[in-house]
Amino acid sequence: MSAEGLIGLAAAIAVSLATVFPGLSQGKTATAAMEAIARQPEAAGDIRTSLIISLAFMEALTIYGLLVAILLLGKL
Protein backbone atom coordinates (compact mmCIF):
# COMPACT_ATOMS: atom_id res chain seq x y z
CA MET A 1 0.00 0.00 0.00
CA SER A 2 2.78 2.43 -0.83
CA ALA A 3 1.93 6.01 -1.70
CA GLU A 4 2.98 5.58 -5.31
CA GLY A 5 0.86 2.49 -5.68
CA LEU A 6 -2.19 4.32 -4.39
CA ILE A 7 -1.53 7.25 -6.69
CA GLY A 8 -1.31 4.93 -9.69
CA LEU A 9 -4.50 3.16 -8.65
CA ALA A 10 -6.31 6.47 -8.17
CA ALA A 11 -5.29 7.67 -11.63
CA ALA A 12 -6.51 4.46 -13.25
CA ILE A 13 -9.85 4.53 -11.41
CA ALA A 14 -10.33 8.22 -12.26
CA VAL A 15 -9.92 7.69 -15.96
CA SER A 16 -11.93 4.48 -16.18
CA LEU A 17 -14.95 5.81 -14.28
CA ALA A 18 -14.79 9.05 -16.23
CA THR A 19 -14.97 7.08 -19.46
CA VAL A 20 -17.75 4.63 -18.61
CA PHE A 21 -20.56 6.90 -17.50
CA PRO A 22 -20.27 9.68 -20.09
CA GLY A 23 -19.93 6.90 -22.67
CA LEU A 24 -23.30 5.47 -21.61
CA SER A 25 -24.93 8.90 -21.69
CA GLN A 26 -23.51 9.73 -25.10
CA GLY A 27 -24.89 6.44 -26.40
CA LYS A 28 -28.36 7.34 -25.18
CA THR A 29 -28.10 10.80 -26.72
CA ALA A 30 -26.98 9.42 -30.08
CA THR A 31 -29.85 6.90 -30.02
CA ALA A 32 -32.41 9.62 -29.44
CA ALA A 33 -30.89 11.77 -32.18
CA MET A 34 -30.93 8.94 -34.71
CA GLU A 35 -34.54 8.11 -33.94
CA ALA A 36 -35.46 11.78 -34.34
CA ILE A 37 -33.70 12.00 -37.69
CA ALA A 38 -35.38 8.80 -38.86
CA ARG A 39 -38.76 10.16 -37.89
CA GLN A 40 -38.26 13.54 -39.61
CA PRO A 41 -35.40 13.68 -42.11
CA GLU A 42 -35.98 17.37 -42.98
CA ALA A 43 -34.81 18.43 -39.52
CA ALA A 44 -31.56 16.47 -39.85
CA GLY A 45 -29.38 19.60 -39.91
CA ASP A 46 -30.80 21.06 -36.69
CA ILE A 47 -30.72 17.71 -34.94
CA ARG A 48 -27.14 17.13 -36.00
CA THR A 49 -26.03 20.49 -34.58
CA SER A 50 -27.78 19.84 -31.27
CA LEU A 51 -26.30 16.36 -31.15
CA ILE A 52 -22.74 17.63 -31.59
CA ILE A 53 -23.22 20.26 -28.87
CA SER A 54 -24.65 17.74 -26.40
CA LEU A 55 -21.84 15.30 -27.10
CA ALA A 56 -19.28 18.06 -26.46
CA PHE A 57 -20.78 18.71 -23.02
CA MET A 58 -20.57 15.08 -22.02
CA GLU A 59 -17.10 14.80 -23.48
CA ALA A 60 -16.01 17.58 -21.13
CA LEU A 61 -16.79 15.35 -18.14
CA THR A 62 -14.47 12.68 -19.52
CA ILE A 63 -11.80 15.31 -20.04
CA TYR A 64 -12.06 16.37 -16.38
CA GLY A 65 -11.28 12.78 -15.38
CA LEU A 66 -8.36 12.63 -17.79
CA LEU A 67 -6.99 15.90 -16.38
CA VAL A 68 -7.12 14.51 -12.84
CA ALA A 69 -5.31 11.35 -13.97
CA ILE A 70 -2.59 13.35 -15.71
CA LEU A 71 -2.11 15.58 -12.66
CA LEU A 72 -1.89 12.52 -10.42
CA LEU A 73 0.65 10.86 -12.69
CA GLY A 74 2.73 13.99 -12.55
CA LYS A 75 3.10 13.40 -8.82
CA LEU A 76 4.13 9.82 -9.30
Binding site: I52, I53, F57, I63, L67, I70, L73
Partner: protein, 243 residues
Protein backbone atom coordinates in the same frame (compact mmCIF):
# COMPACT_ATOMS: atom_id res chain seq x y z
CA UNK B 1 16.45 8.80 -27.44
CA UNK B 2 14.28 6.25 -25.71
CA UNK B 3 12.42 7.37 -22.60
CA UNK B 4 11.69 4.96 -19.82
CA UNK B 5 7.94 5.40 -19.85
CA UNK B 6 5.60 7.18 -22.22
CA UNK B 7 4.39 9.35 -19.39
CA UNK B 8 7.86 10.66 -18.67
CA UNK B 9 8.27 11.45 -22.35
CA UNK B 10 4.94 13.21 -22.47
CA UNK B 11 5.76 15.22 -19.35
CA UNK B 12 9.09 16.49 -20.59
CA UNK B 13 7.80 17.12 -24.09
CA UNK B 14 4.61 18.91 -23.16
CA UNK B 15 5.27 20.58 -19.86
CA UNK B 16 8.84 21.79 -19.90
CA UNK B 17 9.06 23.18 -23.40
CA UNK B 18 6.00 25.36 -23.34
CA UNK B 19 6.21 27.00 -19.96
CA UNK B 20 9.93 27.62 -19.58
CA UNK B 21 10.62 31.26 -20.39
CA UNK B 22 12.27 31.94 -23.71
CA UNK B 23 13.62 35.35 -22.84
CA UNK B 24 12.97 38.02 -20.27
CA UNK B 25 12.74 41.49 -21.76
CA UNK B 26 14.59 44.18 -19.75
CA UNK B 27 15.67 41.46 -17.35
CA UNK B 28 12.38 41.73 -15.45
CA UNK B 29 11.38 38.31 -14.20
CA UNK B 30 7.64 38.72 -14.19
CA UNK B 31 7.61 39.75 -17.86
CA UNK B 32 9.07 36.38 -18.90
CA UNK B 33 8.05 35.46 -22.43
CA UNK B 34 7.39 31.76 -23.04
CA UNK B 35 6.65 29.81 -26.22
CA UNK B 36 2.94 30.22 -25.61
CA UNK B 37 3.24 34.00 -25.67
CA UNK B 38 5.24 34.06 -28.90
CA UNK B 39 2.75 31.75 -30.58
CA UNK B 40 -0.05 34.07 -29.50
CA UNK B 41 1.82 37.02 -31.02
CA UNK B 42 2.25 35.06 -34.23
CA UNK B 43 -1.47 34.27 -34.34
CA UNK B 44 -2.35 37.91 -33.74
CA UNK B 45 -0.11 38.99 -36.62
CA UNK B 46 -1.51 36.34 -38.98
CA UNK B 47 -5.16 37.08 -38.21
CA UNK B 48 -4.66 40.85 -38.43
CA UNK B 49 -2.81 40.53 -41.73
CA UNK B 50 -5.53 38.25 -43.16
CA UNK B 51 -8.25 40.67 -42.06
CA UNK B 52 -6.42 43.63 -43.54
CA UNK B 53 -5.80 41.87 -46.84
CA UNK B 54 -9.41 40.73 -47.07
CA UNK B 55 -10.90 44.18 -46.58
CA UNK B 56 -8.51 46.25 -48.64
CA UNK B 57 -10.78 46.50 -51.68
CA UNK B 58 -14.16 45.98 -50.12
CA UNK B 59 -16.87 45.29 -52.70
CA UNK B 60 -20.47 44.25 -52.43
CA UNK B 61 -19.96 41.20 -54.65
CA UNK B 62 -16.49 40.09 -53.68
CA UNK B 63 -14.09 39.17 -56.45
CA UNK B 64 -11.33 38.81 -53.88
CA UNK B 65 -10.99 35.18 -52.79
CA UNK B 66 -9.91 36.00 -49.25
CA UNK B 67 -12.85 38.35 -48.74
CA UNK B 68 -15.17 35.65 -50.05
CA UNK B 69 -13.78 33.12 -47.60
CA UNK B 70 -14.01 35.52 -44.66
CA UNK B 71 -17.60 36.38 -45.53
CA UNK B 72 -18.48 32.70 -45.73
CA UNK B 73 -16.87 32.01 -42.36
CA UNK B 74 -18.57 34.90 -40.63
CA UNK B 75 -21.95 34.23 -42.21
CA UNK B 76 -21.93 30.63 -41.02
CA UNK B 77 -20.92 31.64 -37.48
CA UNK B 78 -23.63 34.31 -37.51
CA UNK B 79 -26.19 31.72 -38.62
CA UNK B 80 -25.36 29.40 -35.73
CA UNK B 81 -25.40 32.17 -33.17
CA UNK B 82 -28.74 33.50 -34.38
CA UNK B 83 -30.25 30.12 -33.58
CA UNK B 84 -29.30 30.71 -29.95
CA UNK B 85 -30.20 34.34 -29.49
CA UNK B 86 -33.23 34.13 -31.74
CA UNK B 87 -32.78 37.67 -33.02
CA UNK B 88 -30.37 38.73 -35.73
CA UNK B 89 -30.03 42.31 -34.51
CA UNK B 90 -28.85 41.16 -31.08
CA UNK B 91 -26.36 38.78 -32.62
CA UNK B 92 -24.90 41.60 -34.68
CA UNK B 93 -24.55 43.75 -31.57
CA UNK B 94 -22.37 41.25 -29.74
CA UNK B 95 -20.82 39.69 -32.82
CA UNK B 96 -17.41 41.44 -32.62
CA UNK B 97 -16.75 39.76 -29.28
CA UNK B 98 -18.19 36.35 -30.11
CA UNK B 99 -16.78 36.12 -33.65
CA UNK B 100 -13.34 37.05 -32.34
CA UNK B 101 -13.59 34.31 -29.73
CA UNK B 102 -14.41 31.75 -32.39
CA UNK B 103 -11.66 32.76 -34.81
CA UNK B 104 -8.99 33.09 -32.13
CA UNK B 105 -9.80 29.83 -30.33
CA UNK B 106 -10.00 27.95 -33.64
CA UNK B 107 -6.62 29.30 -34.74
CA UNK B 108 -5.08 28.53 -31.33
CA UNK B 109 -6.36 24.95 -31.32
CA UNK B 110 -5.06 24.34 -34.82
CA UNK B 111 -1.66 25.87 -34.11
CA UNK B 112 -0.98 22.84 -31.93
CA UNK B 113 -1.11 20.54 -34.96
CA UNK B 114 1.48 22.51 -36.92
CA UNK B 115 4.73 20.57 -37.44
CA UNK B 116 7.10 21.13 -34.59
CA UNK B 117 4.53 22.43 -32.12
CA UNK B 118 5.69 21.72 -28.60
CA UNK B 119 9.20 20.74 -29.61
CA UNK B 120 10.44 23.79 -31.49
CA UNK B 121 11.10 26.56 -28.96
CA UNK B 122 8.62 29.30 -29.73
CA UNK B 123 5.66 27.28 -31.04
CA UNK B 124 3.11 25.94 -28.57
CA UNK B 125 -0.65 26.10 -28.83
CA UNK B 126 -1.86 28.96 -26.61
CA UNK B 127 -5.00 27.13 -25.49
CA UNK B 128 -2.91 24.28 -24.10
CA UNK B 129 -2.23 26.33 -20.96
CA UNK B 130 -4.80 27.04 -18.32
CA UNK B 131 -3.80 30.72 -18.20
CA UNK B 132 -5.03 31.48 -21.72
CA UNK B 133 -8.31 29.58 -21.45
CA UNK B 134 -8.98 31.08 -18.02
CA UNK B 135 -8.37 34.52 -19.52
CA UNK B 136 -11.01 33.85 -22.18
CA UNK B 137 -13.43 32.59 -19.55
CA UNK B 138 -12.87 35.65 -17.35
CA UNK B 139 -13.58 37.91 -20.31
CA UNK B 140 -16.87 36.07 -20.88
CA UNK B 141 -17.72 36.35 -17.16
CA UNK B 142 -17.19 40.10 -17.00
CA UNK B 143 -18.83 40.79 -20.34
CA UNK B 144 -22.05 38.96 -19.40
CA UNK B 145 -22.49 41.09 -16.30
CA UNK B 146 -21.42 44.25 -18.08
CA UNK B 147 -23.88 43.73 -20.93
CA UNK B 148 -26.59 42.71 -18.50
CA UNK B 149 -26.22 45.90 -16.50
CA UNK B 150 -25.94 47.98 -19.67
CA UNK B 151 -29.14 46.47 -21.02
CA UNK B 152 -31.33 46.32 -17.96
CA UNK B 153 -29.75 48.74 -15.49
CA UNK B 154 -29.32 47.71 -11.88
CA UNK B 155 -32.50 45.63 -12.01
CA UNK B 156 -30.31 43.02 -13.70
CA UNK B 157 -29.18 41.80 -10.29
CA UNK B 158 -32.73 40.86 -9.42
CA UNK B 159 -32.44 37.67 -11.47
CA UNK B 160 -30.35 36.17 -8.68
CA UNK B 161 -33.40 35.98 -6.43
CA UNK B 162 -35.79 35.41 -9.29
CA UNK B 163 -37.90 32.26 -8.66
CA UNK B 164 -37.36 31.94 -4.91
CA UNK B 165 -34.93 34.01 -2.76
CA UNK B 166 -33.89 30.72 -1.20
CA UNK B 167 -31.96 29.92 -4.39
CA UNK B 168 -29.57 32.89 -3.96
CA UNK B 169 -26.42 30.89 -2.93
CA UNK B 170 -27.04 28.36 -5.69
CA UNK B 171 -27.34 31.08 -8.30
CA UNK B 172 -24.17 32.79 -7.11
CA UNK B 173 -22.27 29.51 -7.17
CA UNK B 174 -23.53 28.84 -10.67
CA UNK B 175 -22.21 32.20 -11.81
CA UNK B 176 -18.74 31.22 -10.64
CA UNK B 177 -18.87 27.65 -11.94
CA UNK B 178 -19.63 28.85 -15.48
CA UNK B 179 -16.18 30.36 -16.24
CA UNK B 180 -14.53 27.45 -14.42
CA UNK B 181 -16.17 24.86 -16.64
CA UNK B 182 -15.60 26.95 -19.78
CA UNK B 183 -11.87 27.21 -19.15
CA UNK B 184 -11.40 23.62 -17.99
CA UNK B 185 -13.27 22.16 -20.93
CA UNK B 186 -11.16 24.00 -23.51
CA UNK B 187 -7.88 23.48 -21.64
CA UNK B 188 -8.52 19.80 -21.00
CA UNK B 189 -9.34 19.05 -24.61
CA UNK B 190 -6.29 20.74 -26.12
CA UNK B 191 -3.80 19.74 -23.40
CA UNK B 192 -5.09 16.18 -23.27
CA UNK B 193 -4.79 15.76 -27.02
CA UNK B 194 -1.24 17.10 -26.89
CA UNK B 195 -0.35 14.72 -24.04
CA UNK B 196 -1.76 11.69 -25.82
CA UNK B 197 0.06 12.60 -29.04
CA UNK B 198 3.32 12.97 -27.11
CA UNK B 199 2.76 9.64 -25.40
CA UNK B 200 1.98 7.85 -28.68
CA UNK B 201 4.98 9.57 -30.26
CA UNK B 202 7.30 8.14 -27.66
CA UNK B 203 5.89 4.66 -28.27
CA UNK B 204 6.20 4.57 -32.07
CA UNK B 205 7.16 7.85 -33.68
CA UNK B 206 6.25 6.96 -37.24
CA UNK B 207 2.50 6.79 -37.94
CA UNK B 208 0.94 6.08 -34.59
CA UNK B 209 0.06 9.66 -33.53
CA UNK B 210 -1.81 10.38 -36.79
CA UNK B 211 -5.30 9.13 -35.80
CA UNK B 212 -5.07 11.12 -32.58
CA UNK B 213 -4.03 14.24 -34.46
CA UNK B 214 -6.96 13.89 -36.86
CA UNK B 215 -9.22 13.55 -33.83
CA UNK B 216 -7.51 16.65 -32.47
CA UNK B 217 -8.50 18.59 -35.59
CA UNK B 218 -12.12 17.54 -35.17
CA UNK B 219 -12.21 18.32 -31.47
CA UNK B 220 -10.45 21.65 -31.94
CA UNK B 221 -13.28 22.81 -34.19
CA UNK B 222 -15.98 21.43 -31.88
CA UNK B 223 -14.48 23.01 -28.76
CA UNK B 224 -14.11 26.43 -30.38
CA UNK B 225 -17.71 26.14 -31.50
CA UNK B 226 -18.98 25.06 -28.07
CA UNK B 227 -17.09 27.87 -26.31
CA UNK B 228 -18.60 30.50 -28.59
CA UNK B 229 -22.03 28.94 -28.29
CA UNK B 230 -21.93 28.96 -24.50
CA UNK B 231 -20.66 32.54 -24.43
CA UNK B 232 -23.55 33.54 -26.69
CA UNK B 233 -26.01 31.69 -24.49
CA UNK B 234 -24.76 33.40 -21.33
CA UNK B 235 -24.80 36.85 -22.90
CA UNK B 236 -28.22 36.39 -24.46
CA UNK B 237 -29.81 35.15 -21.21
CA UNK B 238 -28.22 38.08 -19.38
CA UNK B 239 -29.68 40.59 -21.83
CA UNK B 240 -32.98 38.86 -22.44
CA UNK B 241 -35.88 41.18 -23.08
CA UNK B 242 -39.06 41.37 -21.07
CA UNK B 243 -40.90 38.15 -20.53
Amino acid sequence: MFFATPVYAAETAGHGAGHAPLFTPFGLDFLAVSSVVTTMWGLMIVISAASYLATRTLEKIPNNRLQNFMEFLLESVMGFLTQITGDEKRTKKYFPLLGSFFILILASNYSGVLPGAGHVPGLQAPTSTLSVTAAFAIVVFFSTHYYGVKEKGLAYFKHFIEPIPFLLPLNIMEEFVKPLSLSLRLYGNVFGEEMVVAGLFSLLPLFLPIPMMILGLLFGLIQAFVFTLLATLYISTATAGHH
